[in-house]
């Protein structure tokens, strides 16, 4: 089972707690994690990935094991500890942003601490 941590507003939208677990079939990648997440919580479709392009929304980042995975291929395997469920896959909302702001340049999130 894969552990996922969502940002505050998406937890509220999906009516889940701080951390949830997903049964991800096949290779565990960003794409397969998000596919499983959206299958279980359809209201999250379009909130993390654009509906049409399936690209990560600009003000969200993916982290695991204190590393920024946001620019990895969505089909690359995630770290083994994430696939094994010992570390969570973190979807993190940028501190910057909001209405009236354009997409950030890379590296706008300076530091991630362990949850």
């Amino acid at each position: 089972m894969v552990r996922v941590i969502l940002p505050f507003h998406l937890r509220n939208l999906a009516r889940v707690g701080r951390e949830l677990t997903l049964d991800v079939k096949g290779p565990v990648t960003q794409r397969s994690i998000l596919d499983a997440l959206e299958a279980q919580y359809p209201m999250l479709r379009g909130t993390i990935r654009d509906h049409v392009t399936q690209r990560r929304r600009p003000f969200l980042r993916f982290f695991a094991c204190e590393e920024d995975l946001s620019h990895e291929s969505p089909d690359a395997p995630v770290p083994e500890s994430v696939a094994a469920g010992s570390e969570p896959f973190v979807v993190l909302g940028a501190i910057a942003g909001g209405s009236g702001f354009g997409p950030p340049d890379g590296g706008s999130i300076a530091r991630i601490t362990r949850f």
């Binding site: 940002p7 505050f8 507003h9 998406l10 509220n12 939208l13 209201m43 479709r45 379009g46 909130t47 993390i48 654009d50 509906h51 049409v52 929304r57 003000f59 969200l60 909302g93 940028a94 942003g97 909001g98 209405s99 009236g100 702001f101």
Partner: protein, 374 residues
């Protein structure tokens, strides 16, 4: 027994205020969807318990929420707004081609007869509809595809379709307005559209009387006079008596004719309301005074309404969807400000009372008049 339900969309959530017909004591619920921008909420005329809300954020995109119990509980429905076919480009601020990109839903207009049917005006400007209560949305592609779409340019707030008016006498007819493309009309349920901007004069565009390119801020219509339209433009208050074929200016003696909101008295089709804003560079009320202006002659002659509204050191704005009326006798008028106040008048604007003072910036106001037994 009558009740009034005021639906308030703000930058940080939605609020619902309810009162009886006296409109003195208000129960407030919210914030619903706390922390999200609620660009618009509106109830269905066909089922007053059916409400729809546009919930969006720069981080997480668009949600549509639906309530079947008058706003007590909500469920997310469909949020996929995909442009029909290859979207193409419109003009960017600098005149270069810019791809059409969905950003948010600005306005939801439920059908007058079917609680599961809703139209959505979106940014980048397009119109979508649902026939299954919001689960699935489809573009009415004839609007962007009628020919002028590639030449539309955004206003400062984006290229947004913010006004949708349904003709109660002609189910296939509707009017829409886009900042900053202008007003358009369909007579065949959205298959084909035509610009209806003749008579508009906009100094900020190269050809002030062009077919498109006018920054229309809002349009209002009384249901008993379909086709008599009142428009607040980026400068000028306008009127059309022929469904938008021709417009004439009715700004008259307004202290400034820049503004966003315009609305019509529920029982007097020639009584209209605006809130003058100082200028396009200064988006706050004129002279530090929050004044609603009322015309009982369909424009030209305007009277300031100030009792109960701050008349000094007030620098709020009132955004385009942030005014509405109820249909009680006497007509109630409501508006919300960017300072977070919601003002109500139970006497058609003669006197005003704040029914909320400290909300987040108000983006939209809608009102439902409910008649309940007991």
């Amino acid at each position: 027994m009558s009740k009034v339900r005021v639906l308030v969309g703000t930058r940080k959530g939605a609020f619902i205020l309810e009162s009886d017909g006296k409109r003195r004591q208000w129960e407030i619920s919210g914030p619903h969807f706390a922390g999200w921008e609620i660009y618009h909420l509106k109830g269905s005329a066909a089922d007053t318990n059916r409400l729809y809300a546009s919930q969006s954020s720069g981080w997480f995109g668009q949600q549509i929420q639906r309530s079947n119990d008058g706003g007590k509980t909500w469920e997310p429905v469909g949020n996929k707004f995909a442009y029909d076919g290859v979207p193409g480009t419109h003009q960017w601020y600098d005149g270069t081609p810019h791809p059409w990109e969905f950003k948010r839903v600005w306005h939801l207009e439920p059908s007058l007869t079917d609680p599961d049917m809703v139209y959505a005006g979106v940014e980048d400007a397009a119109i979508f509809s649902t026939t299954d209560g919001g689960r699935n949305w489809h573009e009415l592609a004839g609007l962007r595809g009628h020919g002028t779409g590639p030449h539309w340019q955004p206003g400062a707030g984006g290229l947004c379709l913010h006004t949708i008016i349904l003709d109660p006498s002609h189910p296939q007819r509707m009017w829409i307005a886009i900042s900053a493309a202008g007003a358009f009309r369909t007579d065949d349920g959205g298959k084909t559209w035509k610009p209806i901007n003749r008579g508009l004069h906009s100094l900020h565009i190269p050809n002030p009387t062009a077919e498109i390119g006018h920054c229309v801020h809002h349009i209002a219509m009384h249901k008993s006079r379909p086709g008599v339209l009142f428009m607040q433009k980026h400068w000028d208050v306008m009127r059309s008596d022929d469904g938008g074929e021709q417009w004439r200016e009715v700004s008259g003696n307004l202290p400034t004719d820049f503004g966003f909101v315009i609305d019509v008295h529920a029982h007097e089709p020639e009584t209209i309301y605006v809130v003058p804003i100082k200028s396009d560079s200064e988006h706050y009320v004129h002279e530090g005074k929050l004044r609603v202006f009322r015309s009982r002659t369909g424009g030209d002659q305007w009277q300031p309404l100030t009792q109960g509204l701050p008349q000094s050191h007030c620098y709020v704005n009132v955004l385009r969807d942030a005014m509405a009326v109820d249909s009680l006798d006497r007509c109630g008028v409501y508006f919300g400000t960017t300072g977070g106040q919601v003002y109500a008048s139970a006497d058609a604007g003669d006197t005003w009372t704040p029914i909320a003072r400290d909300f987040p910036a108000v983006l939209s106001i809608e009102v439902q008049t409910l008649f309940v037994s007991g």
